[in-house]
Structures are given as structure tokens and as C-alpha cells.
Symmetry: C2
Subunit: 647 residues, 2 copies
């Protein structure tokens, strides 16, 4: 009830700083579980530590370098009158600066870094200088030679940019600093409330984001007007007020049906997911259980019918949209990195509200496959769209090449629409926020890796535990400090391990058959809880309505989707000319799996719909590796789904 | 050598009118075969007669009505200064007026029609009044308040519109009239030669069309400068001179590789096919066999690897582009009607050059499935894109609704980009032009239906035959008039009938095992040649590299692709929940086939990539009907490819 009280009180700097003590990306005032703050969960090793090191050491600098070099940060200087020239980039490049500020705030929250701190403050000052006296802040609109403020709500992305600024401010507050950026965000949010609040323009932005930002900023600052404005934006949507175009109808903008009346996520995937996340926040804080149930139902249907094996969503390149139910082509999977991140945001909100482990499963699957596939191993290039089937090896991009946004088969260093790299940066920096929760009485471990949880329970007692795992191998939970009374520690049993996972405590091994295994016994310092997961690779088949992969099989290993690349096949054989032997169970091989294949030959220069028997060659074995790592060895063709001999 | 001589002579009204005697849409000066003119092939009954009646009686009026109503024809009056208001529609709506003028010219060529003639002349006069003194003619560019001429070659579509005007003039010449529209076209073509010819702007238009138009206009008028300009436009392409955008790269415009160096058709499908057709015309008239061979090779590869079962091409909605080899999703088949028509144009050119029956097969398949699916049965609505799999039944459109261009599941009466209805109109009006040829010594029948061929052979002798067929049932060829010496009459044996077709003459029946069956014997008046085709419906399976339809089967009957629609299934069962019984051979049923299906049930609200056994119900039978007729009974879901039980 902590934040709930704050939201319903008048704004107070004191209350605001109080509410920053807990909560990572979100801090809802109610729900089955409560997020832990940046000081309470710390990643200490393994894959996620390596990713965070890459983020802090390379990705943030890479993004900063590009945005300085091509003038996106200088756009603020231009508005401030201290730089000349015209606006660089498309209308919404401000948002990339803000997402990077959010990433930097979370990084600074993880551990002090004087150099990063100075850079952070430097950029914030440049942003501050561009803020108009009435709080408005945008480098593409409202100044001399620019279009008027809010003159293009469909495409201008003004409130979208504002939302990202406000989310960056939330990150700053949640990492313990109520300083310049939160002050900028307050002035901006106050301006927005005047402009779009009760009695103001009854309008919405073409790209949702302001909803989720304002709701969280309301939570972080204790200012109820911000939440109220978020609520208004959610409620106003779905009434066809946004102008449509030749290609983008009301559905594209989620402006076809009110949020609470929709049946499934549709239209532009990132828009739909950001909006849903904001709607959950609004529903939670206003006690609107009907709205909450509506979004949950829509999202469950989306997971069941409109999601790729990787957790990626968005089946259409055209309009970056969801397709119909079960329309999930591998080769045209758009599965935008930002949509995957947005789905993690939504999954997390619903996990915290409901405690339903399905959402933690979805976060695991999405982070490890659909998000981590984006950055190249060296952190200097990114996927925007994430295909599950690459038929033609692309050419390698250079570090100087500004790419189009989604068609490249290779990761690109930067994009004209460059939403994904900065979104990856803020997600990596705040990843620990998605790992564990408390319910006041105990702690719940949702994601695995090497990290520590150190929190105070409602009764004031401390519990500190250390989780050790080069996940997805076995997980060891070591108790560092615990009250004398029994404190429930819950472990999510991943859906892929259900019925095969074991939990061992003090020599007693139990088969885990439910999606959550709770250790209820009293814990002592040094106690070890071991979660043993079935790590042998496994074949996965798709629902029969997913036509695109009928007769094909994927291979998964723990939470990782594997992929077959040309570079792992014998010379002269490519991924388009092999079939998988279904009678040969895939064999564990360090981070991947060995499968048995046969080369398939069929004439390719005749009419392709006449009976032409394909010939199969002698079987051979090949290694499949984690999907997230594909194309890190150069241009390659790739398949997640492989035709199975005999269907 | 007839037209070849003309092209190499200086322009002459007399020569031009001489050259209109023969040739429908094209009249190349060399090639294995020669097209027949509008007076030489006449459709007399059956499907094609019904389609031409629909065209003359409904479609032409429908298009005219829409273009008058929304001001597209009045755009010419505005430029002429006799109407006020601003330009209606997008930049290239002139082209729709021209394509309709082409359709009207072919219709008038088929048979006199005083009302249509008056309408035709009326529109031509309005077009004439909008022509600038120097020959330039466009309603979106170059006048007060408009952008300058040729200031947006990538997207302005100026030369694209000019090309369609010139093609309309070719139709007028080929139907025996060297009057106002050919005169307008001459002035325009002369202007273009000055502007873009040798020593002029070394530029190309973003949308090819001018190439094929100028080459044919050169043939029709005998003016070599027009052919020369067509050649320049073909040769200039592929050197990256067109500016690219965030979404459209050089490949989109076929500006990535010179035409003669490309390996396959790629980029925007209509652009690629119009360009290829123009390149064939240029290659034929300039003796450039290397260019001809290059286009033929590209097209054969496109047929083998980038074509749908219907003959439709263009696998991507995004950019209306070809996909990669074998990337042919049913549910996202763009298969634009205009691309199908453009492929008929190219197939016809290559058929005439090579005599290779594969091209006639492709014309048959494409016309009967990918083109004829476009118009609704009543001729008042059209498909723009032609999916092979409709997962969700769309809402019915009304006759007042101006649609977006490609996303509707139902046919729409008109589009903001309305290229397809007028393209259908000109194709139906000129359809007979694709049916038969002569090689000077005899005649070749490529398409079947009820029509007459009446032509004079090189030796001056007349041959007249009547073809009777409610195709695709048996075909009867009746000799009406023939020389006393043997005249070879060749019948194409459709690829789908090879080895099963029989030809019966005077009681002697022969199995046809080659793609062309030539009757060499002397023919007498009243002689009957009967072609008996195997009309039982057949299962078709796709090449194993076409992932999208693996484990699925289509059903074809003769040249017709069949489709399964919800409305033909028992109440409560839809096309997404059935499997095809492969052990039950489809049974002929008038225009379709009876197949055996089972209902398939599988949970749809869980994670869709976990083993969940599907249950199959009791078998039942249902009718599949011609794909071209689908959704004529109201909104429906539909599948061409049906999952096969047991893969």
C-alpha cells in the first residue's frame, strides 16, 4: 500500500524520495508480488553479468558516440540556441537520447562510475537547456522553422519522446537521485497535464509510451495528476480519433477498439505492448480490475496465438504489426527487438500482479532469445528485426554504415530509426529488476543466474540469499542471512522443466511438478537449495495451426532456442537443403546440441508444384547453437525450424 | 520483318497505319511466332466471352463512374483551365484514365459501339486539352501550384503515366485508328525524346512502364527514335541513379543491377515485370540476343522459384516485392493483380519469341487464377492483392467505399491506388490477343475456349478455324476454311495434361506426350480435331523448399486451382480446423472437386510450442471450388493449401 498512499496524496519531494527506495522499472502499489529495488537484487556473475559489462563498457558508449556523431544530441543544443544547423534525424530521435539516459541511470544505480556520471550529467544539462519555459521539450516541434507543437499527433511522436524522458527520470528517482532530470520531467509532465489533462485537448499520441511513463512517474513522485493523465490517455484510445493513412488504419494505432474492449493485441506491436503496459499500471493504481483483466486476457491470447518460439512478436514487416492468430512465418518474422522488450515490460507487470509463473516463463524466453539476439557479441551492432529463418546470407555491415531499419540480415551499428540499441541498453542495465520479488513474507526467484537478493521483510527481518548458476545449468541457492523463523523462498520451475525438475535441500530431493516450488522450512546461514533442471536438448513442434512451420522441428535446450547455421554444416551443404532425422535424439554439446541431418536434393529449375521426388543423402551430424548468438561469426544463413524427414 | 523494316525507316503516317493491321498488344518484328490482330482472333463464347461481356457491360462503366465521381478525369479539365479545384488523388491517377482508354480502345476494336465510342472520344478530348504546347502531359506536375516537371523521378510516376498513355495510343493504332490519341502520344513521345533522349537528362523513372510503351509505339508508328529512347531507359537502369529511402533501396526500383546482368526478378514485382517486358521488346528490335537471353533466364528462374501455384508473384506486402527464392507464404501472398497481368505481358513476349509452350502454360495458369480472381462476379469490386489463404473473414465492402490498397480480405470497388481494376479491364478487352499465333506457314493455338482464328498465311492463302470448348472441358477445333495443301495447326498440350492428353482426328486417337501437338495433315472444311484433356481433379504438392506449404496439398482441376471456403464446410467447422485425407482421391464435381476432410482439434490457449496432441474427427466430404471465384458468396475464410493428415 506504500506507493498507493503516495499516489493519492499531494506531490511531495519527501514522499517522492521515500518511494524511490524500492522498485526497479516499476513499483505498483498493489499486487501479488512486489518488485525489489536496485540495491536489493544484484547480478554477480554469469551471462547476465557479462551482458551488463558489455552494456556498461561498450553499448552505452557506442550509442553515445553515434548520437554525438550524427548530431542527435546536438539537436538539444540547437533548440537551446548554442548550436547551429538544422535538426538531425527523424522526428523522434530525442527518444533515443532519453532511453540512453535511462540506461545510464540504471548503470549508475548498479555501481558508481565517475566518468559515466559526468557524461550523464553533461547530457542532462544539454537536455535541460532545450526545455521551453512552460515545460514543453522537443527538438523537432514548436520552435522557429519547425512545425507547431502537437500539429501531427499521428506521426510526430512528441508525447512518445516525452514518455521516454519521463521514464528516464523514473530510473533516476528509483536509483536514489531526485535531481535535474526528474525536475525537467516534472515541468514537462505538468505542461502535459495542462495541455492534455481534464479540460485540455482530448487527444492521444500516435505512438503510446506516455501512458506507461506518466503512471510510473506518478508512482515515483506521488503526484496523482500524472496518474490521472495516464488514465485519460488510456481511456481516450480506441475511439478512432487518430487520422489514418493509405497504409495505416485505426488498428495500427490501437485506436480501433477501447483498450478494455479488445480481445487480442493487434496493430503495430510495440505500440500495442507499450499501451498495454501503461493500461496495467493505470488499472492497478485506480483499482480498475476490469481493465486489468481485459489486458491480461488479451496478452494471454497473444502469447498463445501470436508469439514466436523465441518469445518474439510481430509477424508482419508491413506496419511492424501482429498478424492474425497463428500467422507466424519464420522467414518474415519481424519480431522487433523493441517489441520483445515491450513484452517483457508487460509480462513483468502481470507477473507482479498475479504471481502467475507463466509470465516469468515468458520473460525468460523473451530475454534470452528475442532480446539477447539483438546485440552482436562485441556490442557494436544490433538486430532491429529478428528473423527465425535467414535464406540468404547478407553482406557484413561496417561500423560506419547507417542502416535502414529492418531489412538487413546482419546486425547493423546504427539505424535511421534506431529505437532498438538504446532499448537494449536500458533493458540490460535494469535486467536485475526482473529477477526476484518479495511478497512481504518471503522472496520469489523468477529468473536464474548468479545474483544476490538482500531485502527486508515486512516484519523488519533481513533475508539475504545468493543464487549461483551458470544458467541454464543447475541452480544453487545459498542462504546468506535469514530470520530464525521459516521464510518462504519460492523458485519458479520453468515450463520446459515441469515434471522433470528436482529440488534438493539437505539431502532430500523432491520432484517439482508445479510451476512454483516453495521452500517453507526454516533457513539457516549456509543452507543450500539446489534446483536441478533437465538440460538435455529437446525437439519442439508447433501447434498445428502454425502453418509456417508444419512438418518442421525446432531444438531447444533449457530456456534457449537453438539455431542451425550454414557455417556449422559441411562444405557445400546449406540450411535450405537439409532435413532433420527425428529418430536421432539431439545430444547435449556444451551450449548447443548435436543433431542428425540428411542432405535433400530436388530439381530447382522447373515448375515447383509438380511431383518431383526429393532425394535424401547419407545422414551426418551437425551442431546447433543458441539462436541469440547467430551470425556472430559473419554473414550466414540460419534456420530455427528444420524440415523433419517424413514430416 | 514487316515491323522491323518500319522501325528502321523514318516516321510515316502511311507506314504506321499499315503496321496496325496485325498484332494485338504486341507486334514484334521477329520471333518464332507472330501475334494475330484483333480482327484475326475473336472470342465467341464460354468463360472468356462472359468475362468480356462483363468488361464491356459493367467494368468499364464502373471504372469510368468512379473516376468521374472522385475527380480523376476532371484533373485534365483543371489543367486545361476549364475546371477549378485542386488535383484529386495521388500523383499517378492519370495512368488509370489511360489504362481505361486502352481498355475502351480494345473493346471498340472487338465490335462497334456508338455509345462507348462517344465516351471514348469525349475523354480523349479532355486529355488532349491538358497537353502542354511542348507535348508534356501530366495533371500533377509542371503547372501553377504544382511541383516542377521531373522533379521527383523516384516517386512522381510521370513517365509511368506517359507510358500508359502511349500504350493506350498503341491500342488505338492496333485497332485501326490513327486519330487524336495517337497524335497526343506522338507529341508526348517526341517531347520525351527531347527531354530524355541522346543528349538529354540521363535519367529513368522510378516505375518502369515507359520502356514497354515506347518500344511498342515505335513498332506501331515506325518511328525509330521511340525505340531508341526505350533502349536508353532500359540500359540506364541498374546503376543506382534513383534515390533510395528508409524502406526502398536500389533493388526495389531494379536499379541495383543492369537488366542484362541480373539473375532473377527482384524488388517491386510490377516494376520488375514491366521493365522485363520492355527489355524483351528492346532486345528483339535491336537484335540484342544477350539481353533477351538474360531476361528469359531471369524469368524462368522466377517462375521456378518465386511463383505461386496460381501464377501470382510478389511474396511481400512490404514494398510489394518478390521474396527470396522459395519464400512463398500463402497467407501473406501479395500476388498483386497487376503483377499477374505484367507477368502475362512478359510470358506472351517470350512465347512469341521462343515458341516455348511453358510460357503459354504460365499465361493460362496466371490468367485463369491470378488475374480472374480479381474482379468480383458482378464486376463491381476487385482484389488488389490475392492471398492464397484467408484466415479471417473480412467485412463486406460497400460500393461507396474507397479502400486502402491491399489489406482488405474482400474485393473493394475502388482504391486510393487503383491500378488493378483498369488493368483488369484492358486485359479482358485484349484477351483474345494471347490465344493464338501464326508462324506464316500455319497457326498455333495456345489458349483454349470458344473462339475463331481467321488469318492469311504467308503464301496468301486463308485459314479459318473455329475452336469450341467450354474450357477446361474437351476442346474441339473445327476447320472452317483451309488451303488445299497441308497447313500445320499446333495445339499446346498443357503441362498438367502431358502424357494424359489425347488428340482425335477422323477416328484416329493419339496420346500427346509433347508440349505441342501439331496436326500436319491436309485439312478440309468441316474437319474436327478433338483435344481430350484429363479433367479429374488432382492433388498438387509443392517443392520441398517452399516451407510455407510443407505438409499441405492443393487441389487442381485442369488449369484451375481450387480453394476451400468456410461456406462449403458443415456448420461450426472452418478451414483452419480441417485436415485433408490424402488417401481419398478428389472427385470431379462440375466446376470443382469433392475432397475428404477431418476436423482437427487442438488446445489454442496454451503456449503453442509444446507437444499437444491434435485430435482428428470423423471424415466428411466437402466441395472445393475454383480459386478465382472465392468470396463471391460473401465474406469467407479460404485455403488453397490444406494440411494433409499424416503430413
Amino acid at each position: 500500500m506504500r506507493t498507493h498512499t503516495a499516489v493519492n496524496s499531494t506531490a511531495s519531494p519527501h514522499l517522492a524520495s521515500v518511494s524511490t527506495r524500492r522498485g526497479g522499472p516499476i513499483a505498483p502499489s498493489r499486487g501479488a508480488l512486489r518488485p525489489l529495488g536496485v540495491g536489493e537484487v544484484k547480478i554477480t556473475g554469469g551471462l547476465w553479468a557479462r551482458m551488463q559489462e558489455l552494456n556498461a563498457g561498450v553499448i552505452v558508449d557506442h550509442c553515445l558516440g553515434w548520437m554525438e556523431r550524427i548530431g542527435w544530441i546536438a539537436n538539444f543544443d540547437r533548440v537551446a540556441g548554442i548550436a547551429s544547423g538544422s535538426h538531425a534525424g527523424i522526428e523522434f530521435v530525442d527518444s533515443e537520447v532519453y532511453k540512453l539516459l535511462e540506461a545510464m541511470a540504471w548503470e549508475l544505480g548498479r555501481r558508481p562510475d565517475a566518468v559515466l556520471d559526468e557524461r550523464y550529467r553533461g547530457i542532462v544539462s544539454r537536455v535541460a537547456a532545450a526545455q521551453d519555459d512552460d515545460g514543453y521539450l522537443h527538438t523537432s516541434f514548436g520552435h522557429a522553422g519547425q512545425r507547431a507543437r502537437y500539429s501531427d499527433l499521428e506521426w510526430g511522436h512528441e508525447l512518445y519522446c516525452h514518455g521516454h524522458l519521463i521514464q528516464a527520470a523514473v530510473a533516476r528517482l528509483r536509483t536514489g537521485h531526485d535531481d535535474e532530470l526528474p525536475a525537467i520531467a516534472r515541468r514537462l509532465a505538468d505542461h502535459l497535464h495542462t495541455e492534455f489533462g481534464p479540460g485540455g485537448r482530448p487527444a492521444v499520441c500516435g505512438h503510446p509510451e506516455i501512458e506507461v511513463a506518466l503512471a510510473e512517474f506518478g508512482r515515483a513522485t506521488g503526484e496523482p495528476r500524472y496518474l490521472e493523465l495516464a488514465r485519460l490517455f488510456v481511456e481516450r484510445r480506441g475511439h478512432g480519433t487518430l487520422g489514418t493513412t493509405l497504409f495505416q488504419g485505426h488498428e495500427y494505432f490501437q485506436d480501433d477498439v477501447p483498450v478494455r474492449d479488445a480481445e487480442v493485441l493487434r496493430g503495430h506491436a510495440v505500440r500495442a505492448l507499450y499501451l498495454s503496459a501503461g493500461a496495467v499500471d493505470v488499472a492497478v493504481e485506480t483499482g480498475d480490475d476490469e481493465l486489468l483483466a481485459a489486458v491480461e486476457s488479451q496478452y494471454l491470447r497473444t502469447i498463445a496465438r501470436r508469439s514466436y518460439l523465441t518469445g518474439g512478436v510481430g509477424a508482419h514487416h508491413q506496419n511492424e504489426e501482429f498478424g492474425d492468430d497463428f500467422e507466424l512465418p519464420s522467414d518474415r518474422a519481424y519480431a522487433e527487438t523493441c517489441a520483445a522488450i515491450a513484452s517483457v515490460m508487460l509480462s513483468w507487470r502481470l507477473l507482479v500482479q498475479t504471481g502467475d509463473a507463466r509470465y516469468a516463463d515468458q520473460i525468460e524466453r523473451t530475454l534470452l532469445n528475442a532480446v539477447l539476439v539483438s546485440p552482436r557479441a562485441d556490442g557494436r551492432a544490433f538486430y532491429y528485426a529478428n528473423t527465425l529463418h535467414q535464406r540468404a546470407a547478407g553482406a557484413a555491415t561496417t561500423d560506419d554504415e547507417l542502416s535502414e531499419r529492418a531489412e538487413a540480415s546482419m546486425r547493423a551499428p546504427w539505424f535511421e530509426v534506431s529505437c532498438c540499441p538504446t532499448n537494449v541498453a536500458r533493458t540490460l542495465a535494469s535486467a536485475a529488476g526482473y529477477f526476484a520479488t518479495t511478497d512481504g513474507a518471503g522472496v520469489q526467484l523468477h529468473q536464474y543466474g548468479s545474483y544476490t537478493v538482500d531485502t527486508t521483510l515486512d516484519d523488519g527481518e533481513r533475508i539475504a540469499i545468493r543464487i549461483e548458476s551458470e544458467y541454464p545449468h543447475a541452480v544453487r541457492v545459498v542462504v546468506v542471512d535469514a530470520p530464525e523463523r521459516p521464510v518462504p523462498v519460492s523458485l519458479r520451475i520453468p515450463g520446459w522443466a515441469l515434471g522433470r525438475a528436482e529440488v534438493a535441500i539437505a539431502g532430500v530431493t523432491t520432484l517439482a511438478t508445479d510451476s512454483v516450488f516453495t521452500v517453507e522450512r526454516s533457513l539457516s546461514v549456509g543452507d543450500v537449495i539446489e534446483l536441478r533442471l533437465p538440460m538435455e536438448p529437446r525437439f519442439s513442434r508447433a501447434h498445428p495451426r502454425i502453418d509456417a512451420v508444419r512438418g518442421q522441428s525446432a531444438v531447444e535446450r533449457g530456456p534457449l532456442v537453438l539455431a542451425l547455421e550454414d557455417v556449422d554444416l559441411p562444405q557445400g551443404i546449406d540450411v535450405e537443403h537439409v532435413e532433420l532425422d527425428p529418430d536421432f535424439s539431439p545430444v547435449d554439446d556444451f551450449d548447443g546440441a548435436i543433431v542428425r541431418l540428411r542432405r535433400r536434393t530436388a530439381p530447382e529449375d522447373d515448375w515447383p508444384y509438380q511431383a518431383a521426388a526429393a532425394e535424401l543423402g547419407e545422414p551426418f551430424t551437425a551442431k546447433m547453437r543458441p539462436y541469440k548468438d547467430w551470425a556472430n561469426r559473419g554473414p550466414s544463413t540460419m534456420r530455427v525450424w528444420i524440415p523433419v524427414s517424413g514430416g
